[in-house]
């Protein structure tokens, strides 16, 4: 199974997004690089708005992630509650 991944700039907002990703994707592997953090997950990944909001303690619009995003891999599917990445292989 191929990995999907998402990479974010390391900062205070991303820290909560990464925490949420790890909680919602038990098979996620964190790869920390200078100034960036990359999350690899086999097959598919989900980021839930409610989990991020819980970590941040404030309302969060999933599209806010655009500001800190570096790169991703996989097909994107997004609505107001979830951001998903997956491969169809």
């Amino acid at each position: 199974m191929s990995n999907v991944f998402i990479a974010l700039q390391t900062n205070e907002e991303s820290r909560h997004i990464v925490e949420a990703l790890l909680e919602d994707n038990p098979t996620a592997v964190v790869d920390e690089q200078p100034a960036m953090v990359k999350i690899n997950v086999p097959g598919s990944l989900v980021l839930r708005r409610t989990t991020v909001e819980e970590k941040m303690g404030r309302p969060f619009d999933l599209q806010e992630m655009q500001v800190n995003l570096i790169t991703l891999s996989g097909h994107v599917d997004e609505d107001e509650d979830e951001f998903r990445l997956s491969w169809n292989d």
């Binding site: 200078p34 100034a35 655009q66 500001v67 790169t71």
Partner: protein, 516 residues
């Protein structure tokens, strides 16, 4: 009176209203007159409404997030300058990697802007029109922020005082420049496969992710910031590239062979272009995050292959060139750096022989090739330099007609033999670095015979400084070309050791860390 409270629009609903509903069918003009570029490449699209933009970003949100990115970026650029951020880099050799980046990349961004602006007009559906328009604005933003970033460095360091002028003339800069001009002179569908899919999805990670992370590792906050700010748009561009290929393949099975041919061509064109990035990662970052080979394995072999595995359901095959690329990953960066080292009097940056530690690092990262083929060359260069006979290649190289890179690559199965290919077309001979560049030429010779090859132009006498007389007995052709490039030999190039850059950096850093 009862107030009717309206629920806030959901993302999909908002996207439908603010993107898809902006389009209309022409009533008094024929559709093919409004969109005249959609047929001639042979791609068949039956229903533009089947297009889905997975990010569902509407223009109002786009402006909001882009404005925030710009505010963050310029706040950091101000801080970088206020704190003399250029003096925080690990080692001033590093700045030479930035000279290459800033000489080459802003014009690529500008051409990407032109290409996507054209697609924003000419795509036949409102979904891709809006996505291409957003990307066109992103690309001009990248171009502008990179041009602003040049001034963080060219106030202090030599070689990038006239980047746009050199971008149109300097030999090695014709490689990236011609790559994008090749793409911009394609039809709209080939352009989006070339740039949106092959470049953005398959290769851009290798330019921006490990290299920019490397800039951060080397203390260069300015570059890290504009690099990641640009890259934050790339995720959207990559998604557009992937969407466009799925859309084309789902619309008509007859599109498959055309798309496959473009993927094969542009994967190879892009990989050749990245040769210089390989060299920057392995030789020009004093502190290294990972080797080129490691980055290649993560972002091309693992990630790129996941993509091809996914697209296999449409009949897409891994490009043939991947076999050769696999063999070249152990050689590319070393062949490029030795070429630039030997071409020292003809560039706009400094070169050096790697230190012993760096040679050991290269040996450990390239155990199958470095000690056998490349370390002895650097040791020889060092001996020559110590004897006062610094190795320089005084000849102008043969350039590949397609990628425009000097013939520096070796045969895929024999690293001791330079690869040459040659074909005749309309009574003229043309030269290539590889089978793949040759095949690209053979498929479209009328296009590639038009290439502006710097070496050919020099030999034809088109690149001498105004007023110089090539028939004069003391005429020095290289000196005249350097003058035409606006470069000063020894100041803007040559060895880093003993350069003005080295001296200035040491002095300024000394002033920043002591009171004397």
């Amino acid at each position: 009176m009862d107030m009717q409270v309206k629920k806030k629009l959901g993302l999909k609903e908002k996207y439908a209203l603010m993107t898809r509903n902006l389009g209309w069918e022409p009533s008094y003009e024929k559709r093919e007159d409004v969109y005249p570029l959609l047929d001639y490449e042979g791609i068949k699209i039956h229903d533009w409404d089947k297009w889905e933009d997975p990010f569902r970003l509407t223009m109002d949100s786009y402006w909001k997030y882009q404005a925030e990115k710009e505010r963050k970026l310029y706040a950091i650029i101000d801080a970088f300058n206020q704190n003399n951020g250029h003096l925080n880099v690990t080692d001033a050799r590093y700045i030479n990697a930035m000279k290459i980046f800033l000489s080459a990349v802003p014009s690529l961004e500008y051409n990407a802007h032109r290409g996507f602006a054209r697609l924003g007009r000419h795509m036949g559906g409102v979904g891709p029109q809006v996505a291409c328009q957003m990307q066109a604005i992103d690309e001009i933003r990248h171009c502008q922020t990179q041009i602003h970033s040049i001034s963080n460095y060219n106030r202090f360091y030599n070689g990038i005082h006239d980047w746009k002028y050199m971008n149109d003339r300097l030999w090695y800069l014709s490689v990236p420049k011609s790559f994008f001009e090749d793409a911009c002179s394609c039809g709209p569908f080939e352009f989006i496969i070339a740039i949106g899919f092959s470049f953005e999805y398959v290769l851009t990670n290798l330019v921006f992710v490990p290299f920019v992370s490397g800039a951060a590792y080397n203390g260069d906050m300015g570059t890290m910031t504009f690099g990641f700010s640009a890259q934050s748009d790339e995720a959207r561009h990559m998604t557009l590239g992937l969407e466009v290929i799925k859309f084309m393949l789902e619309q008509d099975p007859a599109n498959l062979p055309i798309v496959q041919k473009w993927i094969d061509k542009w994967t190879w064109r892009g990989v050749r272009l990245l040769t210089i990035v390989a060299m920057m990662m392995d030789y020009m970052l004093p502190k290294r995050v990972m080797s080129w080979k490691e980055a290649w394995e993560i972002y091309f072999e693992q990630n790129g292959m996941s993509l091809f595995k996914d697209l296999a359901r449409y009949g897409i095959k891994v490009p043939d060139c991947v076999e050769q690329i696999k063999k070249e990953k152990d050689h590319l960066s070393h062949q490029a750096w030795t070429t630039f080292y030997a071409a020292a009097p003809m560039t706009n940056f400094h070169t050096w022989i790697p230190s012993d530690d760096e040679l050991d690092w290269l040996s450990s990262k390239y155990p199958d090739t470095f000690d056998k083929y490349y370390r002895p060359r650097f040791e020889f260069f060092r001996e020559q330099a110590e004897k006062g006979e610094r190795f320089v290649n005084p000849n102008l190289p043969q350039l590949c007609q397609v990628c425009q890179i000097p013939m520096l690559f070796t045969e895929p199965d024999d690293p001791t033999q330079i690869a040459y290919r040659q074909v005749e077309h309309a009574g003229e001979k043309y030269h290539f670095c590889s089978d793949h560049c040759q095949h690209i030429f053979e498929h479209e010779p009328e296009k590639y015979v038009e290439a502006w090859l710097p070496v050919h132009q020099i030999l034809q006498g088109n690149c001498f400084a105004k007023g110089d007389d090539p028939t004069a007995p003391d005429f020095n052709p290289i000196a005249s070309v350097m003058k035409w490039w606006h470069l000063e030999n020894g100041k803007d190039n040559g060895d880093f050791a003993g350069s003005e850059d080295e001296k200035n950096f040491a002095q300024w850093r000394g002033m920043a860390t002591s009171n004397t």
